[in-house]
């Protein structure tokens, strides 16, 4: 008796979980509704390939896009302000090997309000950020995030590129993939049609529009340009040690080739007088 009740409960629970998941993800079967999920096109990225590096001006523009267009909903959970000024980061300055001293980073940090405890009274306070602070959470918790966004929790962006199949290509395709709803497609209320999103129904409204930001370096802020720049920035945010990893990898290969060659010659020398 108890057991059947338990199984029943578990089943109900599972059903609720599955239904809510599919609603959150907007995963209502695309085939039944007439849409189709397209595969993202493969883009040229400077950070691909064995010697690939991130494009620093693009990352800097991308940070601006993140700050002005994404940061009202999406956090960068695994980044601190100081990371922006790390070697290999978008705002690295050789004059400030310690990013905490970098004035650009200090200025960025100051733009954000960070929760803290007042050191005299012990009261919770908000104060301007310093480079050592992490990027603050946008919402106090997941429930609040879902409540403010039509039931969908905006995902953390510091890992969005590695956390999606297709990586940078997919994120770029998604950001530029908003389209007219096909006439035979039933779009649920509060949802948005996206060619590349699984099931085509996405809770996030189109985030990027032409000239939504004004770039300091004079680059024209088309939707595609902004998408490329923010993806460049987010690719770095997802894998900030890629450049040093590839550099060390090259040195490792150089070493292993020479080492293997020497070992091979030693092996041949040792076996010289043995028939085998």
């Amino acid at each position: 008796m108890l057991k059947t009740q338990k199984t029943k409960m578990a089943k109900t629970f599972a059903a609720v979980a599955i239904i809510s998941t599919s609603l959150f993800a907007g995963g209502i079967s695309a085939q039944a509704a007439g849409g189709s999920t397209e595969k993202p096109a493969v883009q040229e990225w400077g950070f691909k390939g064995p010697f690939g590096t991130y494009d620093r001006p693009a990352m800097q523009r991308g940070y601006q896009v993140y700050k002005e267009s994404c940061s009202s909903c999406h956090a960068l959970e695994h980044l601190s302000f100081r990371h922006l000024g790390d070697k290999g980061g978008p705002f690295y300055d050789a004059n400030f090997p310690n990013p905490n001293d970098n004035p650009v980073i200090k200025a960025f940090a100051k733009d954000w309000e960070v929760s803290d405890i007042d050191q005299d009274s012990g009261d919770p306070i908000d104060r301007p950020g310093i480079p050592a602070d992490g990027f603050p959470d946008i919402f106090p918790n997941a429930i609040a995030a879902a409540a403010s966004n039509g039931g969908a929790v905006p995902p953390d962006l510091s890992l969005i590129v590695p956390a999606r199949t297709g990586g940078a290509d997919y994120v770029y395709a998604l950001l530029t993939g908003y389209d007219e709803v096909p006439h035979d497609f039933h779009l649920s209320e509060g949802m948005n049609y996206n060619t590349y999103f699984e099931g085509n129904q996405l809770a996030m409204a189109r985030p990027l529009f032409d000239d939504a930001v004004e770039y300091a370096d004079g680059t024209k802020a088309t939707t595609e340009q902004m998408a490329r720049d923010v993806v460049e920035f987010l690719s770095w945010a997802g894998d900030p040690k890629m450049e040093v990893r590839k550099k060390v990898g090259f040195a490792t290969f150089l070493f292993l080739f020479i080492f293997a060659l020497l070992l091979f010659m030693t092996y041949k020398e040792v076996w010289r007088n043995v028939d085998h």
Partner: protein, 417 residues
């Protein structure tokens, strides 16, 4: 091949030490171990695997200094290792990729043993210890994959521990006992971390037994006949230390290729998402090295039967020495069974392919429909078991094997080894 010691201490200090603690004598005898002179590069994987185990233990111990086994902190601590811990960006992928490399090497090592009949008399126990190592590796790999607490970590752990729940009568209690609760949670993560730290040392102990056993019975070799005279063997050092060292350097290049240039190629994007018990990923897939067994599990409609088959697929390896009835060890002299073995290998790959795909997708299109992965995995599963029984025992009785060379030396000199 334990024999009388050939070590002669040369200096007074060595003699002094040898009288009190013959550790140098032991090492010299150990390294001088007579090895068949015809071992090929497939025999280098024992050394490669030793290196893999050491690399996993060393990187793992350092990672454990920075990792936090708690549901709220584990995911963040792994990211912190990759971003802020000095050389964490190197250690973490080395450990994660290292697990894959370990399995790659162990599969080659096992298939090599199967091809050259290295499990046969008198090496049955050597093979069984090897199977135990493989089993302990699978447990360690599974436990370790849970630790980053990503989506696949969590749901993989949920699916695998769910197997125990399918056992009749005691299943549910057993599952709760293993998890430390009704579902995968903090107690699960903490015990998985503890066991993940423990098992590598169990593996190290088993490896010790494995090496002891191989030193006692001697290595098998590609033609599968025992060394008969001194000219059939060479001392392990320097002949095979140098050959293995070269092979290890080549293996490290493959390792480095993945660590530095393709660190995520063997993983799953979903594991970069924090574990969410309320959100099931659309496809739960295990790591690549478990895929063939996952395909066997899903090949049958009944959950319990699937689990039994999956465990049977591993258990059957333990009795392989007695299923293969042939007196001839090496497949080189078994013209028909050799092909059954090659098909077995191909079926292993097919099972891996099936494990990675949805069972109802079309694997081989024929006309409008075609064969689904479910049916393909059924065929491959059937062959997997058929290879062990009846193919191996029956072939052992009926196959006409090719004539064996007189000795390893003769085979080497005539170019047949």
């Amino acid at each position: 091949m334990s024999g009388p010691s050939t070590y002669e201490p040369k200096y007074a200090a060595e003699r002094w030490l040898d009288k009190r603690l013959p550790i140098v004598r032991m090492s010299v005898d150990f390294m001088g171990f007579p090895s068949p002179r015809n071992l090929n590069y497939w025999y280098a994987f024992g050394g490669i695997l030793t290196l893999c185990l050491m690399a996993q233990i060393i990187t793992g111990i350092i990672l454990a200094m920075h990792y936090t086994p708690h549901v709220d902190l584990a995911f963040d601590s792994v990211q912190r290792i990759r971003r802020d811990v000095p050389f964490g960006w190197l250690l973490q992928p080395m450990h994660a990729v290292g697990a894959s490399m370990f399995f790659l090497a162990v599969y080659i090592h096992m298939f090599r043993g199967m091809f050259y009949g290295s499990y046969k008399n008198p090496r049955e126990l050597l093979w069984i210890i090897g199977c135990l190592i493989y089993l302990a590796m699978m447990a360690t790999g599974f436990l370790g994959y849970t630790l980053p607490w990503g989506q696949m970590s969590f749901w993989g752990a949920t699916v695998i521990t769910g197997f125990f729940g399918a056992i009749p009568v005691v299943g549910e209690s057993l599952q709760q006992w293993l998890l430390g609760g009704y579902s995968v949670g903090n107690p699960t993560l903490q015990r998985f971390f503890s066991l993940h730290y423990l098992l590598p040392f169990v593996i190290a102990a088993l490896v010790g037994l494995h090496i002891w056993a191989v030193h006692h019975v001697g290595q098998n070799n590609p033609i599968g006949i025992e060394p008969k005279s001194k000219s059939d063997t060479l001392p392990f050092h320097p002949f095979y230390t140098m050959k293995d060292a070269f092979a290890i350097a080549v293996f490290l290049m493959i390792f480095a290729l993945f660590v530095f240039y393709l660190p995520d190629a063997l993983g799953h994007a979903d594991n970069y998402q924090r574990a969410d018990p309320m959100k099931t990923p659309p496809h739960i897939v295990p790591e690549w090295y478990f895929l063939p067994f996952y395909a066997i599990l899903r090949a049958v409609p009944d959950k319990l039967l699937g689990i039994i088959l999956m465990f049977a697929a591993i258990a059957v390896l333990f009795i392989l020495p007695w299923l293969d009835t042939s007196k001839v060890r090496s497949m080189r002299f078994r013209p028909v069974t050799k092909w059954f073995f090659i098909i077995f290998l191909v079926m292993g790959f097919i099972l891996g392919w099936c494990g990675a795909r949805s069972p109802d997708d079309i694997a081989i299109p024929i006309g409008d429909g075609g064969m689904t992965f479910k049916w393909l995995s059924r065929i491959a599963t059937l062959y997997y078991f058929a290879y062990f029984f009846p193919i191996l025992p029956v072939m052992g009785w009926i196959e006409k094997t090719k004539p064996l060379p007189e000795s390893i030396t003769k085979a080497v000199l005539s170019g047949d080894a």
